[in-house]
Each structure stands twice: as structure tokens, then as C-alpha cells.
Amino acid sequence: MSENIQIESALRNRIDSGKKALVVYITGGLGDDWTQTMHSVIDAGADVVEIGIPFSDPVMDGPIIQMANDSSIGSGSTPVTILNDLREESPAAPLAVMTYYNLAYRMGHERFASSLALAGISGCILPDLPLEEFEIWSEAAVSSKIETILLAAPTTPDERLVQICARSSGFVYAVGLLGVTGMRSELADSAIEIASRLKNVTTKPVLVGVGIGSPEQAVKACEVSDGVIVGSAVVQEMINGSSPEKVGELVSTFRVALDKNC
């Protein structure tokens, strides 16, 4: 079992050194060498890796991650196989899973939380579990020392942002645009706006995700935020069948751009 490093402290290490944090999303079980890809992404400078556990009905995801989901499930991946794969590994950065609530609900909150911990995972993101429904999961997560990262959206009113920041652990996930995951030609203005609104109400790390598809967009989002989450761009590379090294090269273009320009 890998060492259980706290997500927030890993991000703070980067941020306190005057740099911007980089979280990279990869789809669990996508390709035989997906755990190698995870290591390669960490070597390339990801501070935290999000492992997507595929769900049949991912309403917050666009076509790229949907395709990756289908492909992973089609090759026999289940939450159990993905977590088992991770138990064999000792990644040099903390991990968070991103999945949908029904997988936790089905396994049982406590069992799901403890199986994440057993697989060396530090955090969890459930994009269809809003604040109002969060309590039952939160208790199980806390008792297994899992940090649950909550999402804040451009539509979220100010007073609700405060509540979300208070309950989120690890970091606050600022949804950069109105829409689902996927690459866009330009960074949405809403990415800067939501990051600023969050920075005004919290001292927790604020990272922008959804719609960050290029190093230039990452740099721009980091004008205000503490870092970014990059998903679809990386997963597209995995879908293309790129080697773990090649995926790592893509991630380093983000790392280099952030280190140089922010």
C-alpha cells in the first residue's frame, strides 16, 4: 500500500513555492498500461492525479471522457479491478478518484470509502453529489481519511460558494464554464470569474477545471487560480493509444508553461 499523502498539503507545497498546482485526470482501466501512465504523469509534474472510475451514465462528461469510460468498461474494468490495480502501485503523488455517486451508493458508503483508503487513495470527487446530499458520504469519507473535493460552478450564488468552500477538503474545484468536460477553443471568461469569486471567500487552494485544454489556457486560468485540472486533453492522448511516456510529454508541456509564465 502506498503512503497516504494529503492532497491539500501536496498542493500547498507547490503553491507555497510560488508555483501553480497541476492536477491531471486519467481514466482508470483505459489500456493495459494505465498505471504506468499514472506514474509518467506524476514524473512529468502533476501534483495530484485524478483517477476516473468509469460510470455508465456520466452526465457531467463530454464525448472524450464518455468514450474513454465506454472503452474501459468494455475491456472489463470495474471499480474493484481499478482499485486492485492501484493497490499494487506506490505513486509518488496523492491520488483522488473521480466518479459518480451511484458507485459509492451501491458499494455502501463506508465500504467504498475504506476501499479507496486501502488502495492508497486520498481524495474523492463525486460531481453529481451536491452539498444537500453530501452528509452521509461525508461521514464515511472522514472516517476513512478521504478528502472530498466539492465543485463550485459559475451559476453558484455567493452565499452558497461560502458553504461549498467550508465543506470542501483537498481543494475547491472551480468549474470553469457552463458545460461538461471537454476541450474548447478558448478559455471561457467564466473561468477567471469563478476563480476570483472563490479566492475572495476561501483560503483553500482553488483549482480551475473543465475546459482547460492547452498550456496557454492553463496559464491564463492561473492568473487568478492556484492551479488547474487537465482531463480531456490527456485522456484524448490515452484514447489515441499513446505510450505512457508520450502522455507524460503532454503533461510536461503544461508543467513547463505554468512554471515559466505564472
Binding site: F55, S56, D57, P58, V59, M60, G62, Q66, D70, I73, T78, P79, V80, Y101, N102, L103, A104, Y105, R106, M107, P127, D128, L129, P130, L131, E132, E133, L150, L151, A152, A153, P154, T155, T156, P157, R160, I164, V175, L178, G179, V180
Partner: protein, 385 residues
């Protein structure tokens, strides 16, 4: 006493709730507030009532089936939702929601559809109220319901074919929700059944309570009392909850009939998808299973949360029928009463036909939720005519 309202968290007992991306949470809060205000506003209710009567043709009659009653040895009544404008009960909900969308200042309706009945109804209301309309429909359903696709286009709607997952209603809901996440400021999600996040199950039920209210009075007139059994098909469950609402406080036995290949209550366990906690067909890991039914309108692995609640309390009972039984029932009603039913309510009749011994001598009210014109092409192929 009628059906209970959900609690402040949108729950019917343990079922319901609001499991949606944060982006949509404020929209659901706004919708709930707008619906509550509108429903308390006499002018909104009057406008809706006027549309339901002068445009949609309400009240729908109750027809006593003299021939079939003889054959089945029970007294069978049909609530004729098939006679509504657009050919099904769906128009009740859609007119309510479209008026609400207009009141909220929204410019565009987004909807999912299975058989196309809800899509056609939404496209109709959009045309009437001068709103844009975009309907998501699974690729499989686009093929088996091509007439309804053409109808929607004729009415000015855009129909988007959904090619992900099972390419049926479940995936159409996913894509409609993704559209809503991206366009929440200008779009109104016009959900077609008593499912989804709070307040939809409650609001859609409220718009369909007119079915039960009318049927209760009509039964009093015809039977002098309430029927022994009230029966309706259940996919998401909107027509069933509509008719149940009129009889939940009576002695009538309430029967919901699911397709064997999409029996969320019959074969599922509680789960969370499409914004709600309810019975759901899923595998041991929580992946949602694909439903398989002859009827595109019932081809859904979940069910509205209030049905899960009514099942758990025992107030309603849920049974399932096979596609073959449905094909028989479809022909039975056509031949014996001169009424070609939609495949969806043919499920309810299939149960009645199968249970004729149990129902002998009883009075049975069936909600004939839609007419069968849309299914005639599919039945031609199935029957090799």
C-alpha cells in the same frame, strides 16, 4: 387525502432528492420557487386550464368496454388519454411546464424522448408558445419511431439523435442534462416523466393529477363508486401517478405494470441516476443496465421516486408483462373495441388480460395513456403483415 407532497429535500420517504451537478443546483432551486409561486397564482392556473380544455381537448372521457368486459369477465373502463391533442397524456405536463418556462423568461425548451410522445408534445407546446425546442432521442428510437421524428421537425423542433450508451431513453436523458448544464441560463429542461431531481417528480405529477381528478368523478358517475382496481403502465411513471392520484385515498387497488425488460421495481434495487434516488436496474457495481422493451416509451431502467415509495409502503403494487403478452393485448383492444392503443398502455391491458381470473367480477379502470398510430409501423413488422 391525495398523494403527499415531498419533504423539503424533495423526498417521498427515502426516495427522490436532488443528485445533480452543482451547475444545475441553482436552476433547480429557481424552478422549485417558480413552480410553487405559479401554482398558487390563479391567473397561471386559469391559463393552463384554458389550454387544457380549448387546445388539448380536456376533459378526456371514460369509455366502458362492453365487448372486452364480456370477454374478460370484469367491468373494464378506459380513461381516454389517447384522445388528447398529440395523442397521449404527455400534453398535460408539457403545457404546464411550457407556460412555466415562459413565465420564467426562458427562450428554449430542451427535452428527452423515448417513443417520441413527449418530444412531440414538447415541440407542440413550443410552437404554440413561440419557444425554441431541442429534443434528444436515442438513435434506436429515432429509427423505430420515425413518424414522431418527422412530426417534431414539422412542428419546428430540432431532433438530436443520441448515439451513446444504449441509444435509447436513458441516454437521451443524459444528453438532455448535458445540454442543460451548458445552456442553463437560457434553456428550460422540460422533463417528460415523474423522475429527475426535485422538483420534477412532484411538479410533473401535479400537472398530471388532472387525469385522476377527472377519472374519480367520472367513475362516481358511471359506477356510483370507485373502481376495484386502477391500472396503468409504468416507465418513468407519469401516466400512472396521474391516475393513481385520484384514487390513492380510496379502496381501489393500484397496479403499475412495467415491461419485463425494464422492470425497475420488479428487478431493480435502489440506486441514484438522473438526479434521483429510486429503484434502478443496475449491476453489482452500480453500472446502470440497459432496458429492453418493445415499447420505446417504457425502455427505461429507472422509475420515478414516488413509485418506489408507493411500492415500499404497499399502497401500489408493481407487476411486469412480457413483450409477447403486450403484442397480444395490442391486438385484443384493437379487435374487440376498435381502439388501437399505444404499446405502452397495452402493457396495462396485458396484465389485466393475464389476470382475468383474479379480476373476475371486479371493476377495473385502465389509463389508456396514448393511441397506437405511432406503433402501427413497428407492429406491421412484428406481425409480418
Amino acid at each position: 387525502m391525495s398523494l403527499k407532497n415531498p419533504n423539503e429535500k424533495g423526498r417521498f420517504g427515502p426516495f427522490g432528492g436532488r443528485y445533480i451537478p452543482e451547475t444545475l443546483v441553482p436552476a433547480c432551486h429557481e424552478l422549485e420557487k417558480s413552480f410553487v409561486e405559479a401554482w398558487a397564482d390563479d391567473s397561471f392556473r386559469e391559463e393552463l386550464d384554458a389550454l387544457l380544455s380549448d387546445y388539448a381537448g380536456r376533459p378526456s372521457p371514460v369509455t366502458e368496454c362492453l365487448n372486452l368486459s364480456d370477454e374478460l369477465n370484469c367491468r373494464l373502463l378506459l380513461k381516454r388519454e389517447d384522445l388528447n391533442h398529440t395523442g397521449s397524456h404527455k400534453i398535460n405536463n408539457v403545457l404546464g411546464q411550457a407556460l412555466l418556462a415562459k413565465r420564467m423568461g426562458k427562450k428554449r425548451l430542451v427535452a428527452e424522448t423515448g417513443a417520441g410522445q413527449h418530444g412531440v408534445a414538447t415541440a407542440t407546446a413550443a410552437a404554440l408558445l413561440n419557444l425554441e425546442c431541442c429534443v434528444y432521442m436515442g438513435e434506436v428510437d429515432v429509427k423505430r419511431q420515425e413518424l414522431n421524428v418527422f412530426r417534431m421537425k414539422l412542428l419546428g423542433a430540432e431532433v438530436r439523435s443520441v448515439e451513446s450508451g444504449s441509444k435509447t431513453l436513458k441516454d437521451a436523458v443524459n444528453d438532455a442534462m448535458r445540454d442543460w448544464v451548458a445552456t442553463v441560463e437560457e434553456s428550460y429542461y422540460c422533463l417528460g416523466s415523474v423522475m429527475g431531481p426535485h422538483p420534477y417528480p412532484w411538479m410533473v405529477r401535479t400537472f398530471h393529477e388532472v387525469i385522476g381528478t377527472e377519472a374519480r368523478m367520472q367513475c362516481e358517475e358511471i359506477l356510483g363508486t370507485t373502481p376495484d382496481v386502477v391500472c396503468a403502465c409504468v416507465g418513468g411513471g407519469s401516466n400512472a401517478i396521474g391516475i393513481f392520484s385520484g384514487f390513492v385515498d380510496s379502496d381501489a387497488e393500484l397496479i403499475g405494470v412495467e415491461p419485463a425488460g425494464g422492470a425497475a421495481i420488479g428487478r431493480g434495487v435502489p440506486g441514484v441516476v438522473h438526479g434521483m434516488e429510486s429503484f434502478l436496474m443496475q449491476d453489482e457495481f452500480g453500472q446502470v443496465l440497459e432496458a429492453e422493451s418493445i415499447s420505446a416509451g417504457l425502455d427505461y431502467p429507472g422509475v420515478g421516486p414516488e413509485h418506489s415509495y408507493l411500492s415500499s409502503t404497499g399502497r401500489a403494487r408493481y407487476e411486469s408483462v412480457t413483450d409477447d403478452e403486450v403484442i397480444e393485448a395490442f391486438q385484443l383492444l384493437s379487435r374487440s373495441e376498435g381502439l388501437i392503443p399505444a404499446l405502452e398502455p397495452a402493457h396495462a391491458l396485458a396484465w389485466i388480460s393475464r389476470e382475468r381470473e383474479y379480476l373476475a367480477g371486479k371493476t377495473v379502470l385502465l389509463n389508456l395513456s396514448g393511441r397506437g398510430d405511432k406503433d402501427v409501423g413497428q407492429m406491421m413488422e412484428i406481425l409480418n403483415v
